[in-house]
């Protein structure tokens, strides 16, 4: 599916760029939000996260909400101690943000939310 090579001459080698417009796994964000019951911070985090994702990732994401009150044993895997905690599971590397995500800029920076080109 290399569209670029059909359009121009020999493609200029640019090590920083990957093949453009490829639907690769590196575009897709899998995010997991850990909460502990429907507390104000947790509700705010969910709302903030949805808004930011819609804005920046335009559908290329999946949010999973894990309520530790229901599944306490899941806290260990991602080493959760703060609530809420957002974990970017994909693309690697794993990144974490703690808090209700009210500071949008921090979320964008923390999750490195520029989809790869």
């Amino acid at each position: 599916m290399k569209k670029s090579s059909a359009e121009k001459g020999p493609a200029k080698k640019s090590p920083a760029k990957k093949a453009p417009a490829k639907t690769s796994a590196s575009d897709f964000y899998r995010l997991r939000l850990y909460i502990a019951g429907q507390t104000p911070n947790s509700i705010a985090a969910i709302a903030n996260l949805k808004r930011i994702c819609e804005d920046k990732l335009k559908g290329k994401y999946r949010i999973e909400v894990v309520d530790l009150l229901e599944k306490p044993q899941l806290a260990k895997g991602d080493q959760i101690i703060a609530i809420p905690t957002l974990v970017r599971r994909l693309p690697p590397p794993v990144k974490k943000i703690i808090g209700n995500l009210s500071k949008t800029e921090s979320v964008i920076v923390g999750l490195d939310l520029q989809p790869e080109r």
């Binding site: 306490p72 806290a75 943000i97 209700n100």
Partner: protein
């Protein structure tokens, strides 16, 4: 038997026994049950081991399973600590006696955005407690949270909430904290933990390491403010629970033979007071160890248990040397009445030696203890620390009604000048050995410089050491320190 115990005020405060030797005595029963205890100290002082021992004994001896929240990435260290106590960590976990949760916070991985709390930690802890129905909890060490969580206001308020939660759940908890420079702990945890604070210290002075434990605070219990020496040994931590309290030991009136009939004669015909402390000083080769060994032999022959601490010669050397002067100590070793314990004086600080001595005495319950020699244990500088440890040792021996003999090497000159005042003032009896060469013929000399509470002879006698053992010979009229009066002096032995 009267025993110097730290004073304990009996209140309704229940205690959770730690099972750590000496610590339950020092705290009057253990840590406050259902409350949080803070254990603080610098790295390497033994906090994690103490906390782990508290859990392991709790689970194995007192039927209280425990949760260990480890914040420092030390799975190997924990397994090793448990192994050093004689247990296998994975097995204890399998049997649901212990639950270990490794909580790792990598600050470089974490960004903060908005408000949060530490419910995640609470949930993990509650889950662990529920899984094994725990009654004890350890948080080791809370300091790691301070490096992991940027917002210290949130962290502090959550810690307060956590400690309250632990008390609400009626869990007995131990929280470890790193020592601070001006405060007890680096982040001032002692402000939140009101009930009990224990501080551990590990010092290295002149290449000798000493460990001390202090109960800084224990609400509801009148505790000694002393520092107690402790050891980390084969079975974990042992605290030496003796203090230099008031001189309350009872003075005994029984007498014990010195092992040499003629010497007994010099001491009102009866010998030493039982439970007294005897110092034997002299230059090299004057017969101090022989005197001590002979005294030991006589005690064993009476059926008494003797504990001989040797700091210079190995037990086999002593046995061989004493055989050459007609003293068969081996037979008493075989009968289980004589026990040797050999150590290098520099192997540990005086507190370390004290701890070993205390431990063995508690195990073997001897009537006689010999320390041969005490020379290198007491540096000439006679610092306050050392003197205080020595006082504790002698005090402890007297309270246990153990007759003790200490040998000390002096160099030529007046023994009263040469021997540290710290040592001689603690001794009830002081025997001085000397050698001289009047008319070219070498001879050994003995005299009793002091012996409290009795009319002892002031004469000097020749000490004869031969294959037949030890005997006293003629009275020496030309001895510089002794008197020339024949027979026991009419003046009671005051110093």
């Amino acid at each position: 038997m009267p025993r110097a115990k730290p004073k304990v005020v009996r209140t309704s405060l229940a205690k959770a026994p730690t099972g750590i030797q000496g610590l339950d005595e020092v705290t009057g029963g253990g840590l406050p049950k259902g409350r949080v205890t803070l254990v603080c100290g610098r790295a390497g002082c033994g906090k994690s081991l103490l906390a782990m021992e508290f859990l392991v004994h709790g689970a194995v001896r007192y039927g209280e399973s425990g949760v260990f929240m480890d914040f420092e990435e030390t799975e190997e260290k924990l397994t090793a600590n448990v192994a050093s106590l004689g247990f296998d960590l994975p097995e204890l976990v399998k049997r649901k006696k212990l639950f270990v949760d490794y909580v790792l916070i990598d600050r470089s991985q974490i960004e903060e955005s908005g408000e949060y709390n530490l419910d995640g930690l609470f949930i993990r802890l509650a889950h662990a407690v529920k899984a094994i129905k725990a009654k004890r909890v350890v948080l080791d060490s809370v300091e790691a949270l301070f490096s992991g969580i940027a917002d210290s206001a949130i962290l502090r308020s959550e810690l307060r909430r956590l400690f309250r939660w632990l008390e609400d759940q009626k869990l007995t908890a131990v929280v470890t904290g790193e020592a601070g420079t001006n405060t007890l702990t680096r982040h001032g945890l002692e402000e939140y933990i009101a009930d009990c604070v224990i501080s551990l210290d590990h010092r290295v002075t002149e290449q000798i390491s000493t460990r001390r434990l202090r109960v800084v605070k224990y609400r509801g219990t009148s505790h000694g403010t002393d520092e107690y020496p402790f050891l980390i040994g084969e079975e974990g931590i042992s605290v030496v629970p003796i203090t230099s309290l008031a001189l309350t030991h009872k003075a005994l009136t029984d007498r014990v033979s010195t092992g040499i009939p003629a010497l007994d004669e010099m001491m009102e015909g009866k010998g030493f007071f039982r439970g007294s402390s005897v110092l034997v000083t002299g230059t090299a080769g004057t017969g101090k160890s022989s005197l001590a060994a002979n005294f030991t032999r006589a005690a064993c022959a009476r059926g008494e248990i003797c504990l001989y601490f040797t700091f210079e010669e190995s037990p086999s050397q002593i046995l061989r040397n004493m055989r050459s002067v007609g003293l068969d100590l081996e037979r008493w070793v075989k009968k289980g009445l004589l026990h040797f314990n050999a150590m290098r004086p520099t192997s540990t600080g005086l507190e370390g030696h004290l701890a070993v001595i205390h431990k063995l005495i508690t195990q073997l319950r001897p009537n006689v203890v010999v320390i041969d020699p005490i020379t290198n244990l007491v540096p000439a500088s006679g610092s306050y620390d050392v003197k205080s440890m020595l006082v504790r040792l002698v005090d402890f021996l007297k309270v246990e009604q153990i007759t003790s003999m200490f040998t000390n090497l002096t160099f030529a000159g007046d023994p009263q000048e040469r021997t540290a005042a710290a040592v001689s003032s603690l001794m009830d009896t002081w025997i001085v050995l000397r050698d001289s060469k009047p008319n070219g013929r070498p001879r050994r000399e003995l005299y009793v410089l002091k012996s409290r509470g009795m009319a002892h002879s002031r004469e000097a006698r020749e000490l004869i050491v031969s294959k037949r053992g030890l005997e006293l010979g003629i009275v020496l009229k030309d001895h510089p320190q002794a008197t020339t009066v024949e027979g026991p002096s009419a003046v009671p032995g005051a110093e």
